[in-house]
């Protein structure tokens, strides 16, 4: 039985998804929602369109397999669940049943990163590495709950699959004024401009990166924060531009394994484009199975909390 003890904390983030799905369900009569028994968010959709809702119970593999079958028949299935289970228990179904035939299945879920205090069975920390490896898959990680709705809406026009990662807890604060940024899948967001160094981040740690930049700004440092919410396809041009415009000083911060996620995606661009940096700091989860604790406590413990982020930027600024 999946944990539900953090439900109240991420209710607001999920309610955006829930109401967006309910809206989209009216616009698209072929939109389905499917869940392996994590369907609270889908209550509104279910009430409006019960014939296009399916809860398969605790069965991630069949949730994806059924979505593939629905998509073969011209439907647009959205599978909603907890990412540690969808991304791993159903990985082969995602790869062979959805990505191989390039079907428009949307996988959206929570518990990306060390969030929710469920312990290591309930933290999705490898998911972005796994999803980025899949041909045809678009991979996103969303910080702002309103943006989650935007991305879901944009994804309706996609012909292939998309993975939408959400966190829980503090990450559901609204970071962007509606209309403030031109948000497009595949394009990074300049969440804060600056010229001394760039922090690349996504999802739950965007707010923390902005706070670090604010703190460093008060000390006279101009720090750019890129919300690289699309990990695949990666916005390589923006990475190249930031290298030029912020002194070749990069910090990559993420609530994911430090190797295999965004830091690795950025490093690939640097290698492929022969871009030489002055500093490259990666902050993320080390090779551990993390224990219990609050989201911030865990980030602090594993070296990618606010203090560590500020220190990493200072190191990058000092590099010669």
């Amino acid at each position: 039985m999946p944990v539900t003890f953090t439900f109240g904390e991420w209710l607001s983030a999920r309610s955006v998804i829930g109401s967006t799905l309910a809206e989209l369900g009216g616009e698209y009569d072929n939109l389905w929602t499917i869940t392996p028994e994590i369907g609270a968010t889908l209550g509104e959709f279910r009430a409006l369109y019960p014939d296009r809702f399916l809860d398969v119970g605790i069965a991630e593999q069949v949730s994806i397999g059924v979505a593939a079958g629905l998509a073969y028949e011209g439907n647009i299935p959205v599978v909603s669940g907890m990412l540690p289970f969808l991304s791993m228990r159903a990985l082969e179904q995602i790869r062979s049943d959805v990505c191989y035939p390039n079907l428009p299945v949307k996988i959206i879920g929570t518990h990306g990163g060390l969030v929710g205090n469920g312990g290591s069975t309930h933290y999705a920390v490898e998911d972005l590495a796994l999803m980025c490896a899949l041909t045809n898959m678009t991979v996103t990680s969303i910080a702002d709950p309103l943006m989650a709705g935007d991305i879901l809406r944009q994804s309706m026009k996609m012909s292939g699959p998309i993975y939408i990662r959400l966190g829980v807890g503090k990450s559901d604060m609204v970071l962007y004024e509606p209309g403030q940024h031109d948000i497009q899948i595949g394009k990074g967001i300049v969440a804060r401009d600056g010229y001394d160094a760039t922090i690349f981040t996504h999802g739950t740690t965007v707010a923390q990166a902005l706070e670090a930049a604010e703190t460093l700004g008060a000390l006279g440092h101009s720090i750019r924060v890129i919300d690289m919410f699309t990990l695949k396809p990666i916005d390589a041009d923006l990475i190249e531009r930031c290298a030029k415009e912020t002194g070749g000083r990069f910090v990559v911060l993420e609530d994911h394994l430090a190797y295999g996620g965004l830091a690795s995606r950025v490093a690939d661009v640097l290698a492929d484009r022969n871009i030489h940096l002055t500093a490259f700091e990666r902050l993320g989860i080390p090779q551990v199975y993390a224990g219990f604790g609050g989201d911030e406590e865990l980030r602090d413990k594993y070296g990618y909390g606010l203090t560590s982020t500020i220190s990493a930027v200072m190191r990058a600024l000092a590099a010669k």
Partner: protein, 292 residues
């Protein structure tokens, strides 16, 4: 009780005609196995030959000249390694050209390979190959048909060995829960895995009882008896009934070629020229027995 919309591009065959078609399918399977230099999953193709003949030439409401017709029956080959049995059955039904299959099978750029790919081969309903995946996909298709009020059925062919995969039973529960009487599974119960016999590895019996306990209509049949297969197809529950149906087809792996039957060595293999002649002769002798 409602009736499906007939696409009837082929008249209903008699049992004798279907038996001839199954014989021809086996000949063609052996021919491919003898001409292709790599291994063909010939054992599980031969066990399936009568079932696919009954489906493609009798049971399935399909039209090869109108492959996207929404009223067509859907067919998902969950035991994707029997792809050649499906390709050749479809060729005999008018979907593909058998000579092209033989000429290009497994070659670079060919749409015909060891496991079926919908993207590369039009007319195939789903990309399969990894075991345990087909039935969940078929459940999704049947669910879609229900929601849209469509009157076709979804047929899914499984191997008995692949029902060791837990995802099959997840799908079995989902199909029962969604009351998908428009879903029909045929299990090729040939009692063999790749390297041994099912009951020596994972005990499947009581097999029919397992499916029954999951709330499915169950029926057992000699999967090499065309008359009985036809009778079962004739008596399938209506598409708008509320329970999915599984037909447990008792079969023999390698059926029709004595040195392949129940022989672990012939899960997959390639026939040289001499063995091809031997296999054809063995097949021919079964026909004489049948017609005697």
């Amino acid at each position: 009780m409602s009736t499906s919309i007939s696409l009837s591009s082929e008249p209903k065959h008699t049992v004798a005609e279907l038996e001839d078609l199954a014989y021809e399918l086996r000949e063609k399977l052996l021919y491919l196995c003898g001409t292709y230099e790599g291994a063909v999953h010939i054992g599980g193709d031969l066990s399936l030959a009568d079932i696919l003949t009954a489906l493609y030439h009798y049971g399935l409401n399909i039209d090869p000249s109108d492959i996207a017709n929404p009223n067509r029956d859907r067919f998902v080959l969950s035991k994707g390694h029997a792809a050649v049995c499906m390709y050749i059955s479809m060729a005999m039904r008018g979907f593909f050209d058998f000579d092209e299959i033989v000429a290009t099978y497994g070659q670079l750029g060919s749409a015909y390979g060891m496991h079926p790919c919908k993207v590369q081969l039009r007319g195939v309903e789903a990309s399969t190959g990894s075991l345990g995946h087909g039935l969940p996909i078929a459940v999704g298709m049947a669910k879609s048909a229900r929601q849209k009020g469509e009157t076709h059925r979804v047929f899914c062919v499984l191997g008995d060995g692949e029902t060791g995969e837990g995802s099959i039973w997840e799908a079995a529960m989902a199909a029962r829960s969604s009351e998908l009487g428009n879903l029909i599974a045929f299990v090729d119960r040939n009692h063999q895995l790749m390297t041994g016999f099912t009951e020596d590895r994972v005990v499947l019996e009581p097999y029919l009882g397992k499916w029954a306990s999951f709330g499915w209509n169950t029926v057992s049949v000699d999967g090499h008896n065309m008359k009985d297969l036809v009778s079962i197809i004739d008596n399938l529950p209506s598409y708008d009934s509320t329970r999915p149906t599984v037909v447990i087809c008792e079969t023999v792996k390698g059926k029709g070629v004595d040195f392949m039957e129940r022989n672990i060595a012939w899960h997959a293999g390639s026939l040289g020229a001499a063995d091809l002649e031997r296999a054809m002769a063995a097949l021919e002798s079964t026909r004489k027995v049948v017609s005697a």
